[in-house]
Subunit: 388 residues, 2 copies
Amino acid sequence: MRTRELGESPVVIVEEGSIGLVETKYYTFASPPNKFQMDNGLELGPITVAYETYGELNEARDNVLLVEHALTASAHAAGKHSEDDQYPGWWDVMIGPGRAYDTDKYFVVCSNILGSCYGTTGPSSINPETDKPYGMTFPLVTVRDMVRVQKELMDHLGVNKIKSVIGGSMGGMQAIEWALLYPDMVESIALVASGAVSNPQSIAIHKVGIRAILDDPNFNGGNYYGDEVPAKGLAIARMIGHITYLHHNWLWEKFGRAHSDPENMKLKLGSKFDIENYLEYQGTKFVDRFDANSYIYIMRAIDLYDAAEGYESLKKSFERIKCKKVFVCSFTSDWLFPTYQSEEIVRALKFSNVEVEYQEIESPYGHDSFLLEYKELTQYIKQFFATL
Amino acid sequence: MRTRELGESPVVIVEEGSIGLVETKYYTFASPPNKFQMDNGLELGPITVAYETYGELNEARDNVLLVEHALTASAHAAGKHSEDDQYPGWWDVMIGPGRAYDTDKYFVVCSNILGSCYGTTGPSSINPETDKPYGMTFPLVTVRDMVRVQKELMDHLGVNKIKSVIGGSMGGMQAIEWALLYPDMVESIALVASGAVSNPQSIAIHKVGIRAILDDPNFNGGNYYGDEVPAKGLAIARMIGHITYLHHNWLWEKFGRAHSDPENMKLKLGSKFDIENYLEYQGTKFVDRFDANSYIYIMRAIDLYDAAEGYESLKKSFERIKCKKVFVCSFTSDWLFPTYQSEEIVRALKFSNVEVEYQEIESPYGHDSFLLEYKELTQYIKQFFATL
């Protein structure tokens, strides 16, 4: 398996069967005065959604797969934007002719989430009322908002039936929300390394990251555009995140206690263990590619997510779901979205009489497994789609 | 069980059987030109050690228990400094007449570690050569240095035989090092929630904390004394630490997803989950009581610790140990020093033909268990001492 060596998120690279060149498209809606009403009651508009599609929408318009991305990914899920691109999209290995999300059969859509910084409207977008970036005047975003924006995109694409909404990590939360908000539209959902709720440890970890960004002197209340960005705070936030994507045992395997400057380890604080260099590299790389405000907003959206919100229990909430079938998958070494969170979903679905297929995958890679264990995942997803 | 409600580290409070009023004493040695030679070859002196003693040294001088503290504690392990003190010493519940470290029988010594900020020489101490605080000119400290400084104190107290060296967390690392460096002096060691080596996840977590402190504009290369301290960076470092002291499930139990301002949770970033308020409180409190440079130095000492250093294996290293018996204890929910690290010690000791008693305690509290599960621990320690 070849992956980005030190990339921000692991991307498995398999040349054969890749979809080839793709392009990002944009759809704008909710132009004033017809603004989009947010989950919190505030209004926002216009909203642009960046999205990509792979494969063809069939005549019956019933072959749609909607792929939901996690915290820091983009609409660019598969293929390359140009021949020169070093890396394909973030879930390339799952999407293409003959792959799990088979573009010979399906019309695959992936859009960048609301609040992000990869083409969809977010805090770094220009507020037309002020001609300046929104910054922290951008309304707080929820997973429900992300999904409702995607619904607008589906309407625009003429899609009113979705074969499956598939998502890993926060992408799974969006998939759940799709099934809850638009039960008649969603035939199935597939949840990978996800949860129906953000757990308190995850909130705690996000908290430290958010604090680090807010405390960076360059943050300036979110008004850092065109100036020095809060690079140090953002790097710290990302470093903490990365620790939670990998498993304790995998850190032993991958880094152990190796260090590059044994002569000076006890002499100089600047002499580092390999794991430290890795984290610093991850932090620095991330600053180049992601907006600090977006990172805060999306972490917060995850914190706020609770699929049982407004209901007395998850079981009660799930009674809205009309999926034919749900696929749930967790990974043994994932401690950010541990297996118990998937099992909780499975139990609640069964109580709502939704057919559910659950598989835990034995993997050493921690939460990152959902991007790395593509071989097993492909088999399970293919089998799942075949039963729909 | 009564503990400090929101204190920095949990201190169990049991009035009955407390040792009463105690005082911190000081011993200074290594005055120039006879400086102390550090593990890294650098020299340091003079060195003052803050220490407390409880109970009486018997005539045979063979009733000594040496208690080793963890990252941010002090020599003040038991009793109170004045009747007005709100809280007793950090391990009070284990030390006193009739308690695990029974002061009717034993002469209990606890000293503040080298590099700390509670009376023993550390980065915040005045360098007599410059009349300014050492700051980051203080030499990097290792666990071995801490122990060798304690050996000087033992010599000063006329102690050449130690019944048991007992330590939790990094305190256990010091206990191991005592058994390795001074095998003829140490009759037994007791290791609680500890390890023979710092694991890569722990190094990673420390890394982020160290980065946060170094990046705080007030840090100023460690020269912040008499000025604004790097409060934000230090608070972030402490918040990360606290996440690792508690267990995932315990966070559900203790905080869940409770929040105090439901009206505004989706409207304002400043509306917080209870777990966030807890972490912020912990971070802020810590800044008032601890020195940022000391925190960096001691985290680094933990990172650097490897009881097998210089030997081909832990087993080989442990062949130096001449203890009659060793007690090792871990806690099911501790993910900072997980049980496998205690088991590794147990195995290596057995291969060195050292008698070892191992007990894993079922506890929900995570790494903090070593301060909270005093009832079970008391029984095991008492039984262990009885067999010596």
